[in-house]
Symmetry: D2
Subunit: 304 residues, 4 copies
Amino acid sequence: MAVMRLGYVHARVTDLSDARSHYVDTLGLYPVQEEPGRLLLKGWDEWDHHSVVLDEGGVGLGRLGYKVEDPSDLDGFEKRAQQFGCRVERMSKGENPEVSDGIRIFTPSEHVLELYHDMTLVGTEVGTVNPEVFPRHLVGVGVPNIDHALITAEDVNLMDRFFAEVLDFYTTERVATSLDDDAEYIGTWMSAGQKVHDIAVIKGPQGKLHHFAFELGDWADVLHAGDLFAMDDVSVDVGPTHHGITRGKTIYFFDPSGNRNEVFAGGYRSYPDRPCVTWTPDQLAKGIFYVGRELNERFTSVLT
Amino acid sequence: MAVMRLGYVHARVTDLSDARSHYVDTLGLYPVQEEPGRLLLKGWDEWDHHSVVLDEGGVGLGRLGYKVEDPSDLDGFEKRAQQFGCRVERMSKGENPEVSDGIRIFTPSEHVLELYHDMTLVGTEVGTVNPEVFPRHLVGVGVPNIDHALITAEDVNLMDRFFAEVLDFYTTERVATSLDDDAEYIGTWMSAGQKVHDIAVIKGPQGKLHHFAFELGDWADVLHAGDLFAMDDVSVDVGPTHHGITRGKTIYFFDPSGNRNEVFAGGYRSYPDRPCVTWTPDQLAKGIFYVGRELNERFTSVLT
Amino acid sequence: MAVMRLGYVHARVTDLSDARSHYVDTLGLYPVQEEPGRLLLKGWDEWDHHSVVLDEGGVGLGRLGYKVEDPSDLDGFEKRAQQFGCRVERMSKGENPEVSDGIRIFTPSEHVLELYHDMTLVGTEVGTVNPEVFPRHLVGVGVPNIDHALITAEDVNLMDRFFAEVLDFYTTERVATSLDDDAEYIGTWMSAGQKVHDIAVIKGPQGKLHHFAFELGDWADVLHAGDLFAMDDVSVDVGPTHHGITRGKTIYFFDPSGNRNEVFAGGYRSYPDRPCVTWTPDQLAKGIFYVGRELNERFTSVLT
Amino acid sequence: MAVMRLGYVHARVTDLSDARSHYVDTLGLYPVQEEPGRLLLKGWDEWDHHSVVLDEGGVGLGRLGYKVEDPSDLDGFEKRAQQFGCRVERMSKGENPEVSDGIRIFTPSEHVLELYHDMTLVGTEVGTVNPEVFPRHLVGVGVPNIDHALITAEDVNLMDRFFAEVLDFYTTERVATSLDDDAEYIGTWMSAGQKVHDIAVIKGPQGKLHHFAFELGDWADVLHAGDLFAMDDVSVDVGPTHHGITRGKTIYFFDPSGNRNEVFAGGYRSYPDRPCVTWTPDQLAKGIFYVGRELNERFTSVLT
């Protein structure tokens, strides 16, 4: 019984054509399905049908889909979520296009989390026989896959408990008011497997999205992305820089609707037995942006 | 019930003082314990007591230790290994310094595999409170941790089955004589979690080591390592180059006793549901060394 | 008759011991000579005696020394500077330690520029016989050499003419109020040879220093520097990022006295026949910081 | 009176269509002019009309064109070449398409060297007003410009003298039989300005080409090029690796006709007063390929 990874992000965008230009032409996601008001996308190194669903109308996060290892895992997670006090719904196969049946959890932070066990397999863009190391003709940044999301919640301690107790995530890093056991968490970074984070939660309003992230290979790819953002007039929030927390290399930027995206490279490999890291509030800026050790107002206040 | 990772490698070296110079001064491992004829080492980003044990006398692999998630996992793995037809021994706490009790499996390939659930926790060199992204005064290459091992076996298909059926590893990539189900495997790359490989097995004599590997951050670190190898007169086998198989960036080199090491950076994150890649024998050289697409005699024949 | 390069920078620092910690321990310059109130430094890949002179007392730029190819060049440059209307002094051998005789030009921008033809040769830290590609035991950032300086002047057009007409520099890039011939320059980047700039001048008060820069190998080195700045509590102004102007990769930071330094990597190779680039004021922020396209107040106002 | 740089390389190729695929589709040079049996190309960051001319028929080097600073330089170089004992011809404007008048020197090594002072200016692919840092839609490797050539000669000392005495090049590095003044040179690396080499000559048959090189930005670009070589079936000779001599990062590869090319990144900036480096024959392999310190037979024997 295990959650494997963040499998899909549903985001709302004010204009689908502008969003297409951003996610397809600049980021290089592959459009896999289009219908009026909706665009489904995948990265070149993803094998499942899609990882991003853009819905026209409004802005912000629709829901996050996490893939579990086995169909039989759903019952257990459903039970635990209910015991934790969450409302849970069953979802049917096809309710999300190309996605199996699953469950929908309404989290204590007022986000919608879907768990599913299967999605139509379409294969990566390099195939399974003598594959090239990347597609010969990548578009733009050429992001290979989505990586994680960062959401806000009024009670971060509660969300840390939720992901740990309900979904077996473990905490890799934390910002806490103190090193004591009863400290209040300002942020928590949590892993479902060996990623340095599959989800992160920081203190803020309920139900909001800070950003969702795409993985890149390394620091050189991060600058290449940044250069393309300049060429394509993508609004950049912060970066390129280095995180203290997670050690990832990063640029934060906005899609044309104002949803924050991140390109994220590196970060260490984590394991459940790795000791959890704690950052104290006075070192928060260094934890977030290691090199410059400054937070800008926009980064801490703009949410969708 | 899960294997987490390769936790330690025991290697034999002809001269411990030469080996110390290689593993400590050049690679930058931290010596954590020394006794006559034996040296225990760890990388700066490892939190368990040690990951490399060097024993003076001879050359080659002593044994590989894999850490499991829970003490209770041992019984299950023991049973499965026995059912697979392997000889299995119980090992006691302290039989390996600072290592818990566990089991010792004599694999069909005549290697010794130890499973254990605990090792004395010493913490990484950057600590758990507001940690720096790496230690301020790294030595030499400054390898953060071990990564994987590649061993040889007469029957690779059998070893693929062994790791899959006994230890729940899954195959990420394979070199096979054909794409058919009954193909003979020339090599198999297998993951216990999300690493692109925790173990690899290629066709060759029983009980031998091709190499064990240290992880590096990225392609820039690989060249930096190579430059230090030149300065320190480390014998380099191949690289820097790019693997087709695993997509890792790599240099192969030898310790002073002739054991092959690798520095390995990158490689994609794998999951059990990622489609397995197959390489055909005509593309083997490209699979191993993507850029040059040539194998040298030494790389395919020198084993310890 | 040619200026070769920026050979030395004299900077004033409020506290020599703090400055030593910054320039030696963090940046990795080699102290080559110390006397009360003064410290002379060189980078590992510089062969002349020193490139940075720190004088205790105050803050800001003392003078810039440019090395010319031939002793006989001095007469010509002296004549031209006088014709341009500058006060020029002869300086004697030894007036600057280890430096030959030369001339001292008081520029229209009220900076002091020294031209000299020789400095005591001490050799690089890797020597001239079978040299390693860098010293085996670099300290901190390990800057190989100084690169350029950026100064401010009330009349940038005049300074552009000064460097062109007196010293045979040519302009590689400019920020100008328009593309017309009579445009007012807001900044000018000028080369004495093939560097993308040996000097830059931006509009501002007379006689001030914006920054002087050290060269690094590439973008990976820039982040490594930034990480060390975080560890050593170096105050960072902006970066890491990419310049549009010059295409250099950069971090701006301050020494403990508040003098701005830069680490600078890349930038194209220029030639006198390369067409000069012009940036228009509306694209200034993109020209300076290509990825983020934002200027902070500090960057444009803090001078020493 | 100064040579600025290698401005063009004329190479013979057995099949122009195959060559086009290599130089245009893989390397990303821009075709600027085509006529039956001939193709003219330029890199995206070159402003003169072309830098590579491919002539169908045979294989090997046609001639090397070096651009001088001023038309009046030609007379002086002509005189010096004649005094050195070389045959020199005047060439007329248009004899080479889009190239000014100049002189043609038949070197002691039986190569043809052309000096010219002007070529039709076409501008770089990013223009001169608010330019992007590279073209938004680069093709393949996207080489920005040519860099240098390495030729063979029976008498390297003589060629070192030729370039120094006739063309004012200076030697940055040398492989010599000893450190004595009367040593025989096995190779010489020479600069006309601040490049670490504008020409190199190694001992071998008269009139032959070892390789000509394209510049890349950094080590990340070198691997990216190597990956594309694998995808496009470009025959790779050696690399990616690091040179000891010049410190450049490199891959050697062949065009479809068998002419060796190089992608070259980095290398230090040189100046006439930088002390010349000498490599001794026992360290030759380390000088050429720093990391692996091995020369393959092909690298030392295949010439065109």
